[in-house]
C-alpha cells in the first residue's frame, strides 16, 4: 500500500478545513487545530491502477495568536496551498508559505488552490495574478468548498505530481 503525507497550508480562514471536510475520513475534531495546531485526516485517491492513501496534515492557518509549526511539514511528499479568492492578502500569504516550505524542507510538489470559486464575482484576484503564478510554474486551481468544484481534482492532481507525472 502506498501512503503519502501531504499538508494543507494557507492563511487563517481561507477554508482549508471546509474544503476537504466532505472528502476525507476523519476521527479528530477541529479543536486540535487550536490546540496542537494540526488535525490529521485521510483521503484515499485512485491513481491509475494504484490506490494511494493520503494522510492529510491540516495545519492551522497562521495568525497573530499562533505561529506555523514548520516541523509538521517535515516528511511531507506534497501539499495543497490554499488561498481565498476574495482576499488578495491570502495569496500573498500563500506565496510566503511556499517560500517557507522551501526553506524548511526544500522544494515539494504542491497545488495552489484558490478557494471560494462560487463567489467569483466578489474576487479580489483576477486572471492576471493566476497567470503570473502559472508562469512561475505553479499549478493553480479554482475550487469551491461549497459546491465541491475541483476538490477531488486537486487531490488527484497533487497525487499525480507527487508520483512524478
Amino acid at each position: 500500500m502506498l501512503q503519502k503525507k501531504i499538508c494543507m497550508l494557507g492563511s487563517f480562514a481561507v477554508g482549508k478545513t471546509s474544503l476537504v471536510r466532505r472528502y476525507v475520513e476523519s476521527i479528530y475534531s477541529d479543536v486540535y487545530h487550536t490546540t496542537v495546531g494540526v488535525k490529521i485526516d485521510k483521503k484515499t485517491v485512485q491513481h491509475g491502477q494504484q490506490e494511494v492513501t493520503l494522510v492529510l496534515w491540516d495545519l492551522y492557518g497562521e495568525d497573530e495568536f499562533q505561529k506555523m509549526r514548520w516541523s509538521y511539514v517535515k516528511g511531507a511528499s506534497g501539499y495543497l496551498l490554499v488561498a481565498d479568492g476574495t482576499r488578495r492578502l491570502t495569496v500573498e500569504k500563500a506565496m510566503q508559505l511556499e517560500e517557507g516550505v522551501r526553506q524548511a524542507v526544500g522544494s515539494l510538489p504542491f497545488i495552489f488552490v484558490l478557494n471560494k470559486a462560487d463567489l467569483s464575482p466578489a474576487w479580489e484576484i483576477d486572471a492576471k495574478v493566476e497567470d503570473e503564478l502559472t508562469v512561475k510554474g505553479w499549478n493553480v486551481m479554482r475550487a469551491s468548498a461549497k459546491t465541491g468544484e475541483n476538490v477531488e481534482a486537486a487531490f488527484q492532481k497533487l497525487t499525480a505530481k507527487m508520483l512524478g507525472e
Binding site: Q3, S26, I27, I40, V52, T53, V55, S71, G75, S77
Partner: protein
C-alpha cells in the same frame, strides 16, 4: 685503432677522455644530454626510493579514495581496507586501550548514559510501583504471599503487576508519521492506523517544539485513564504500544529491543522509504511478539498449593487444640476422682460452664482442702468454682480427727478409729481415763470404745513400784542374818518406795501385802538354814519397821534353800542365794 674516425663517447660522464677531440665531445655530450640524464636520474631515484614513493603517494591518496567512492567502488574499497582496519584497531587496543577509548568517548558516553538512565528509570518505576502497592489491601495480601513463598515483596508485586494487555502496536515512520505496520489484539476496537500514527507523530513534534527537548527526545508515555501509550523512539521508526492496565517497567526493554530489531531487519527499506508500506508487513511478527507475550496468566481453577498448606496448618492447629483440651480435661477428671476418694468429700457433679470448671458436692469441714489439692497437682485455681454442701462424714479418718478434736487426748495417749471402733493406747491421767468411754460414745459414728491398751497414771505408778520392790535383793555373808551398813542404806532408799506402793494400792482400792522372803544356800542342814533364812527376813522386817512402815503391811518368811534365786553351781551362785527378796501380792477387796 689510432686512425679510427669514430670517436667513442664514454657512456659515463666521469670516464676519462684523453684526447682533445674527446674533450670537445665531452662538452657537446654534456650540452645535449645532461638535462635528460639528470631527469632520468631523478626519476630513477623516485621510483627506486621507498621514502620518495611514499611521499608521492601520500599526496594523492585521499583524493584517490574520494574518487573511488564517487565512481561507486566504495564497497570494494571498504572490503579491501576492512582487514587492515580491523587488525590496526586490535593492535591499537593491544598497545594502549586508552587511545581508542578516548577517541570513542564522545560517542560511547551519551549512549552509555542513556542506557544507564533507562535502567535507573525502570528501577525507580519498579520501586514506586512497589511502594504504591504496599499500602493497599491487595498490597497486604501480596505481603502475606511474600512471607509465605519466601520471595521478596517487590518480586511479588512485579509478578502481579504483569496484569496488562497490549492492545495495539504501531510501527511509525518517524519522518512522515506514516504507519509502516500495525498489529492489534483480537476483539479490540481500533481507529484508522494512518490517522492515529499521524496524530501521535504530530503530538511528538508538538511536544518537541513546545519544550525544545534536547536531542529530539519526545514523549515516552501517554496516559489516558486505564490506557497507556508507550512510545519507543528509534532513528528511523518509532514503536507505539497501546496498553490497557499496568505494564511492568521491564516491558520497556522489550519495546527497545523490538525497535532495534526492526531497524536491523529493515535498515535499507527505512532509509529509502517513499510511502510504500508493503515491505514492512514482515515487521508484523516483531510487533506481534510485543502483543502476544504479555497476556495475563490465567488463574488456575485448581486450588493453589498454599490452600493445602493453609488447610494443613488449620488441621494441625485443630488437632493440637483438641489434644490440649483432651489432656486438660483428663487432668481435671483425675483431680475430681481424687477429690471423690478423699475422706469427708462427695462430688455430686462436675462440668464446664462459662469458661470455668464447676465442681459440686458435699464436704465435711474436717476434710482436706480441695484448693490445696488442686495446687499440688498443678492446676489453675482460677479455672474452677466449687459448690460445697456441709455434712457429717462417718469415714474413719474423719471420725478419728473428730474424736481427737473432742477428746483432746493428753500427751502419751494415741487415739485411732477403725470401722467405728475407737481405740486408745498409752498412759492417761486417771480422771481423763475414767471419763473417756462416756465421752467417746457421744461422738456420732463411734460405735465402741477400746481402752484395753490404756492405763491410768496411778495404776502405772503402782506397777512401777511393784516391779521396783520385787527386783530388790539383799545379800548376807555365810551364816549371818545381820544387815551390813550398805544393805541398811539400800533399805533406807527402798522404804519410801514401799510406802508409796502401799499408798497407791490404797488409792486403787487394793489390799496389798509384801512378803519379805529370807533365803539360804543349800549347804548345811535344812533346819538350820530355815532358822537362818527366817532370821534374815525378820532382820529386814525390823529394819523396815524402824523406817516407819506399818508392821501389818509386811510378812517375813524364811524358805531356807527351797526357792533358790540361782542354781548353786559355784560360790557366786551360792552367795546370791544367801539373801532376802520381796514379793508383792495385791488383791481387790471383796465386793460388799
Amino acid at each position: 685503432m689510432a686512425d679510427d674516425p669514430v670517436i667513442r663517447l664514454p657512456l659515463n660522464p666521469d670516464e676519462e677522455v684523453s684526447s682533445d677531440a674527446g674533450k670537445s665531445f665531452e662538452k657537446l655530450r654534456h650540452l645535449i644530454l645532461a638535462p635528460e640524464q639528470e631527469d632520468l636520474a631523478r626519476l630513477r631515484e623516485r621510483v627506486e626510493s621507498p621514502d620518495q614513493r611514499a611521499n608521492d603517494l601520500s599526496a594523492v591518496l585521499p583524493e584517490a579514495i574520494r574518487l573511488r567512492h564517487r565512481q561507486g567502488g566504495g564497497d570494494a574499497l571498504s572490503e579491501a581496507l576492512a582487514p587492515s582496519v580491523e587488525s590496526a584497531l586490535r593492535e591499537s587496543v593491544r598497545k594502549d586501550p586508552g587511545t581508542l577509548a578516548d577517541a570513542l568517548f564522545p560517542v560511547m558516553g551519551p549512549a552509555i548514559r542513556r542506557s544507564i538512565l533507562q535502567t535507573l528509570r525502570q528501577l525507580f518505576e519498579s520501586f514506586n510501583t512497589a511502594m504504591e502497592q504496599s499500602l493497599s489491601l491487595r498490597g497486604l495480601q501480596w505481603r502475606f504471599e511474600a512471607l509465605r513463598t519466601g520471595r521478596s515483596f517487590s518480586e511479588v508485586v512485579l509478578l502481579h503487576s504483569l496484569v496488562f494487555r497490549t492492545e495495539q502496536v504501531f510501527l511509525i515512520h518517524k519522518k512522515t508519521g506514516l504507519p509502516l505496520c500495525h498489529v492489534v489484539a483480537p476483539s479490540v476496537a481500533m481507529e484508522d492506523p494512518s490517522l492515529v500514527s499521524g496524530m501521535l507523530s504530530a503530538i511528538q513534534d508538538f511536544v518537541r517544539d513546545s519544550f525544545h527537548s534536547p536531542q529530539g527526545q519526545g514523549i515516552e508515555k501517554l496516559q489516558i485513564g486505564e490506557l497507556e501509550v508507550w512510545i519507543e523512539d528509534g532513528p528511523q521508526a518509532v514503536i507505539a504500544a497501546v496498553i490497557r492496565g499496568m505494564a511492568p517497567p521491564a516491558y520497556r526493554t522489550e519495546l527497545v529491543e523490538t525497535v532495534e530489531r526492526v531497524h536491523r531487519r529493515f535498515a535499507e527499506q527505512l532509509e529509502r522509504f517513499q510511502g510504500e508500506t508493503s515491505p514492512f508487513s514482515a515487521a508484523a511478527e516483531d510487533l506481534t511478539s510485543c502483543l502476544n507475550s504479555q497476556f495475563r496468566e490465567k488463574r488456575s481453577l485448581r486450588p493453589k498449593p498454599y490452600v493445602f498448606v493453609f488447610a494443613g496448618i488449620l488441621l494441625a492447629l485443630l488437632a493440637g487444640w483438641l489434644t490440649f483440651v483432651g489432656w486438660r480435661n483428663h487432668r481435671w477428671r483425675t483431680y475430681v476422682e481424687t477429690l471423690g476418694r478423699q475422706p469427708g468429700m462427695v462430688v455430686t457433679s462436675f462440668g464446664r460452664q462459662g469458661g470455668h470448671f464447676i465442681i459440686s458436692g458435699l464436704r465435711d469441714p474436717l476434710s482436706s482442702d480441695p484448693l490445696a489439692l488442686l495446687q499440688s497437682v498443678g492446676l489453675d485455681p482460677r479455672q474452677v468454682q466449687f459448690h460445697w454442701g456441709a455434712y457429717y462424714a462417718l469415714d474413719d479418718p474423719i471420725l478419728q480427727q473428730r474424736a481427737v478434736n473432742l477428746l483432746r487426748p493428753p500427751p502419751g495417749v494415741n487415739i485411732t478409729v477403725a470401722d467405728g471402733m475407737l481405740s486408745t493406747q498409752g498412759v492417761a491421767p486417771d480422771d481423763w481415763f475414767t471419763t473417756l468411754s462416756a465421752r467417746a460414745s457421744t461422738i456420732p459414728g463411734i460405735r465402741a470404745v477400746d481402752v484395753s491398751r490404756l492405763i491410768g497414771a496411778n495404776q502405772a505408778e503402782f506397777h512401777r513400784l511393784e516391779s521396783l520392790i520385787q527386783s530388790t535383793v539383799l545379800t548376807f555373808p555365810v551364816g549371818s542374818a545381820e544387815l551390813s551398813s550398805a544393805q541398811s542404806d539400800s533399805l533406807k532408799l527402798l522404804s519410801p518406795e514401799i510406802g508409796a506402793f502401799l499408798a497407791k494400792a490404797q488409792v486403787l482400792h487394793k489390799n496389798a501385802i509384801i512378803d519379805i522372803v529370807g533365803h539360804s544356800d543349800s549347804t548345811g542342814a535344812e533346819s538350820t538354814n530355815r532358822l537362818l533364812s527366817q532370821e534374815r527376813a525378820d532382820s529386814v522386817a525390823r529394819q523396815l519397821a524402824r523406817e516407819g512402815l506399818p508392821r501389818g503391811s509386811v510378812r517375813p518368811v524364811g524358805v531356807a534353800s527351797a526357792q533358790p534365786l540361782r542354781e548353786e553351781t559355784d560360790e557366786q551362785a551360792r552367795q546370791s542365794n544367801r539373801s532376802v527378796t520381796f514379793s508383792v501380792s495385791a488383791t481387790a477387796p471383796p465386793k460388799s
